[in-house]
Symmetry: C2
Subunit: 281 residues, 2 copies
């Protein structure tokens, strides 16, 4: 009788049913999830019709997923859940460059480039020189750091979204720092773009009165032995969407300067230092 369902103790009853010899971490996660899900339903007094709507939404979200599309990650992103998980797992000492979401467009194995190379292979967009250093918390240069960079092209698409239009590895490359910790390469000043909004997540955004845009940004994955992996972007500060990134990826410290150069109105320079935190403080 003790285990029969009742509304008041619903979550406890479900959680008490778990076996004795299960993985303790899985028990902790599932217990908390069940408690919060039940609290949610009770708080809003979810109706049967709303439950049916939710079942249908989740089903459609799963069914639109494919090799090229991950709608559940998109859902996690627009609800700020991805950024929260990123934040929880990447708390850093003051002064270290902050993390932000990894996103779905990184491709492992990009070509190794030489400092000064241009990673924009399609000749589109406004040229930008990216310069700076990879340093530790004391400002000392980090030698042998790998800077894996990727961004959209001037039309707002990553190369993998347009395999028949853009050159392979367009706006991608890996640079390795020398003893001075410096990096320097050419690319484009990135542009803002909408996340795929023709599926269930796009419809949800419309219902909650939000746009699907991300402000212009360049992705960086910076690694060096003895230091925490840094997954981040630099953002263009005057972007229309800088204060309303649909995936909540912007942090104040990641808004980078993009300055004009004497070479012309479509020539930019963006200087940004990556400060890595040590693996073992």
């Amino acid at each position: 009788m003790a285990s029969y369902f009742n509304e008041e103790r619903s979550a406890e009853i479900v959680n008490e049913r778990m076996g004795r010899d299960i993985n303790p971490r899985f028990r902790e996660i599932m217990s908390s999830l069940v408690r919060h899900l039940h609290d949610f339903a009770k708080e809003v007094e979810l109706t049967q019709e709303e439950w049916e709507f939710a079942i249908d939404f989740l089903t459609k979200t799963g069914q639109i997923c494919s090799e090229e599309r991950q709608e559940f990650i998109l859902l996690s992103d627009v609800l700020g859940f991805s950024m929260l998980v990123d934040a929880i797992n990447n708390r850093r000492p003051a002064g270290a460059t902050e993390n932000t979401v990894f996103g779905p467009f990184h491709v492992a194995g990009a070509p190794e480039r030489t400092m000064g190379d241009n990673i924009s292979l399609d000749g589109k967009g406004e040229s930008c020189l990216f310069i700076g250093r990879v340093i530790d918390l004391n400002g000392a240069p980090i030698s042998g750091a790998k800077i894996d960079v990727w961004s959209d092209n001037a039309d707002g698409f990553y190369d993998v979204q347009q395999p028949n239009i853009q050159p392979k590895w367009n706006n991608r490359g890996i640079f390795t720092t020398g003893a001075d910790g410096r990096y320097e390469f050419k690319g484009i000043k990135p542009v803002s773009y909408p996340i795929p909004d023709d599926g269930p997540v796009g419809q949800m955004l419309e219902h909650i009165g939000r746009h699907p845009y991300r402000p212009a940004h360049t992705h960086f994955l910076v690694t060096a032995p003895g230091f925490q992996k840094l997954v981040t972007h630099t953002f263009v500060g005057d972007d229309d969407y800088i204060e309303s990134d649909t995936v909540f990826g912007v942090k104040q410290s990641l808004v980078a300067p993009f300055a004009h150069t004497p070479e012309g109105p479509t020539e930019w320079v963006s200087k940004f230092d990556f400060v890595l935190a040590p693996t073992h403080p």
Copy 2:
């Protein structure tokens, strides 16, 4: 700056982003959902790998859904969420028969039967006479009540799960009460069965140390003008799984007597009155 992400105010920041002119109920639901999801991630300090596991689980759960299978409903069921939503939406005055989950196996349009008919068409299983009355809270008979009944067969499958094996409408039928409110029909003493456990939900049950079985039950949908729709089961009390229904559908008041009859060891009688609550108390 105010809307940039930070860990501490993560849920508020996401919710503040919602538009002004959206459906107030949708705002209430989404705000609560975001708050509880973020609280969950913070409480367990969800790791990146666990997040990836969850994304993969949800994706597989969506992708296994088909015309014949609804894995997200199954997930909701085994987490007690379906029962909770049912409970919230069907609070009844004392004395009224309690609701339980509808389940995925009801089929609209079952044949109208005459009192006394046998709904078991495949000749399998132990015969059972179901008798009782449909009455109001004062014990007065309700005339013209429709009793839509469905159950598995003796092998533990509903007819729709075995379209090429069982006769169509096996163990299904609709009965209409007369002035005395009485019903009477023959069927089988139902048997316990596992929910479909060869998908992601089955794997989850295994990880939390739970079996996939439902105790034996007969489904009833009882409707009458002026009364609240009753969606319920009656359960066989001595079933091995009566205290551990994997979807938490059992309530003490729904455990029905199944008594032997003088006709033989495989002949049963189960007497149960359905007490309907008025639509407008």
